[in-house]
């Protein structure tokens, strides 16, 4: 599908990408041997890893649900993943992202066969250059599939945005910090790869309501590209029973 920006402006992407072009994606499955499922996903300089442990016994016991297993996500930045060292330990920001990540993933999975258990998803950012929550969700989705959790679809996530009047996909930190004209807008989205179901929507910036439709179309296109790479990485680990880490790139 051709993507048209509603109005041309002078904005040129610093790294020379087209408006609808994702950064180089690297996806690997099975990066943490101890975990029941694990994956790494990167958009350019943003690198996320995710590990899945479970279904396993849930403690504390009072949180157990006899009708289904529950999903528990934790997202955080490693202290050295950003220029200004991040104080270790949960922040308000990471608590919020952990929770929205949980909601982003839940519609794809079914834990009803595992009552009283928990599936723990641990997501950490090794290197941050914007889009960390979306990279984390992509990694977590692959890790869940790798762990053999019943899923009806993969979850794909991408940050859309707007710099001045230009709609773009997969912003870098430099683009997020754009200040000219209408400034920068960051719109993180996750959806089921093959369903019309948006499971994460978070936005900051300035965008006209009438532009959101076009943005969602861009999200659909980007997510199908991401899904293809995720699928390829998952297939590679199955075909390669030795579990060697094959690189899958979109270029």
């Amino acid at each position: 599908m051709a993507i048209m920006t509603s109005k041309k402006s002078d904005f040129k992407r610093p790294d020379g990408r087209r408006v609808d072009e994702l950064r180089k994606i690297v996806a690997k499955v099975g990066v943490i041997p101890n975990a029941d499922g694990s994956a790494m996903f990167s958009f350019g300089d943003t690198v996320a890893i995710a590990a899945v442990y479970g279904p396993r016994q849930l403690h504390p016991q009072h949180m157990q649900d006899p009708s289904t297993g529950i999903l528990r996500c934790n997202y955080d930045l490693l202290s050295f993943s950003v220029y200004d060292r991040k104080k270790p330990g949960p922040s308000r920001r990471s608590q919020e992202i952990s929770k929205v990540t949980e909601w982003a993933l839940l519609p794809a999975i079914d834990l009803s066969a595992f009552p009283n258990t928990v599936v723990d998803v641990q997501i950490y950012i090794l290197q941050a250059d914007a889009g960390t929550r979306t990279a984390g969700i992509n990694a977590a989705s692959m890790a869940l599939a790798h762990a053999g959790i019943p899923m009806k679809d993969l979850i794909c996530s991408v940050a859309l945005g707007k710099t001045d009047q230009t709609l773009i996909v997969d912003l870098t930190k430099e683009e997020e910090d754009y200040h000219e004209g209408e400034g920068a807008t960051d719109f993180a989205i996750a959806k089921l790869a093959n369903h019309d179901e948006f499971t994460l929507m978070q936005m900051d910036g300035k965008i006209q309501p009438e532009k959101v439709k076009e943005l969602l179309e861009m999200a659909n296109k980007a997510c199908s590209e991401i899904c293809e790479i995720q699928t390829k990485a998952l297939k590679a680990v199955v075909e390669n029973s030795s579990g060697s880490l094959e690189e899958n790139q979109n270029e």
């Binding site: 929770k99 929205v100 839940l106 179901e197 936005m203 900051d204 309501p209």
Partner: protein
């Protein structure tokens, strides 16, 4: 979406009624309850406001402090929003460390205001690199009968409009007892508001009561404002386990500008 459940019977009844466009209190699905704004909750604050939407009530205060600027914004004042879900305001609120809702509420108020550029933070710089004003907005629900986020946003902008700067001496020390007649540097045009849409079944509603809110599965909140003559979305956050479809998001985009116009007009009587 809440740890305390409404009964399945209530939820099912509400789902049916919403699908027929009806609500317990007779409102249309996207109608707000009556909104009122009062000022002067505390004369020790630089600005304060009390907002009521139906039985929901929230008080918001603005305090000003001086201090060093953040390393990445040497020539700008700072904005901080915090708040607490006091057990006073609802049987659902508990004392102890803040839960997700207590963390999320001030963050959403903050993002709607910050994204809109309503406060001209550059004008809050006293001496570049050394001394700037910090605007602290504190939000306290007094009675939670649903739609706390939208109510808190209204409270925050009202309290900001109500704020008078205190006097400071050459060293930057504030005399809180002496208020000047100077208001905060606020954009005249920009009135950032929040609209939280709640979904139950296939229906979307605005301004839920607590009962309706607890029956709903998913919430999506938008911060919206006017900026350089255009209506702009400034923030968005979806909450809850169930997804939204593209058609639902597009429907919200049609409702938003109209609703923004209607509520802004109402609020201008109070500001």
């Amino acid at each position: 979406m809440s740890s305390m459940d409404v009964s399945n019977l209530t939820k099912e009844t509400l789902r049916k009624m919403f699908s027929e466009g009806k609500r317990f209190d007779g409102r249309g699905l996207i109608d707000f309850r009556d909104i009122s704004v009062e000022y002067g909750v505390s004369n020790k604050a630089e600005g304060s406001a009390r907002v009521r939407i139906g039985k929901t009530e929230v008080v918001v205060g603005v305090k000003l402090q001086t201090g060093a600027p953040y390393p990445d914004s040497q020539d700008k004042g700072n904005l901080m929003v915090s708040g607490d879900l006091l057990p006073l305001a609802s049987p659902r609120y508990e004392s102890g460390p803040p839960g997700f809702n207590a963390v999320e509420l001030p963050r959403l108020v903050d993002r709607a205001i910050r994204g809109s550029d309503m406060i001209e933070l550059k004008k809050l710089c006293i001496k570049e690199g050394e001394l700037v004003w910090t605007v602290i907005i504190d939000v306290y629900p007094i009675n939670d009968d649903g739609n706390m986020i939208d109510a808190s946003s209204i409270g925050a902008i009202a309290a900001l409009h109500n704020t008078l700067m205190p006097e400071i001496d050459e060293k930057g020390k504030i005399d809180y007892e002496k208020k000047t007649k100077n208001k905060l540097p606020l954009s005249k045009e920009t009135l950032p508001l929040s609209f939280s849409f709640f979904k139950l079944g296939d229906s979307l509603i605005l301004d839920p009561t607590r009962e309706e809110e607890e029956a709903c599965d998913t919430r999506i909140t938008f911060g919206i404002s006017q900026w350089n003559g255009q209506i702009m979305l400034n923030s968005c956050q979806k909450k809850g386990e169930l997804p939204l479809t593209q058609a639902e998001v597009e429907k919200i985009m049609e409702i938003l500008p109209e609703k923004f116009g209607e509520i802004s007009k109402k609020l201008k009587n109070f500001l």
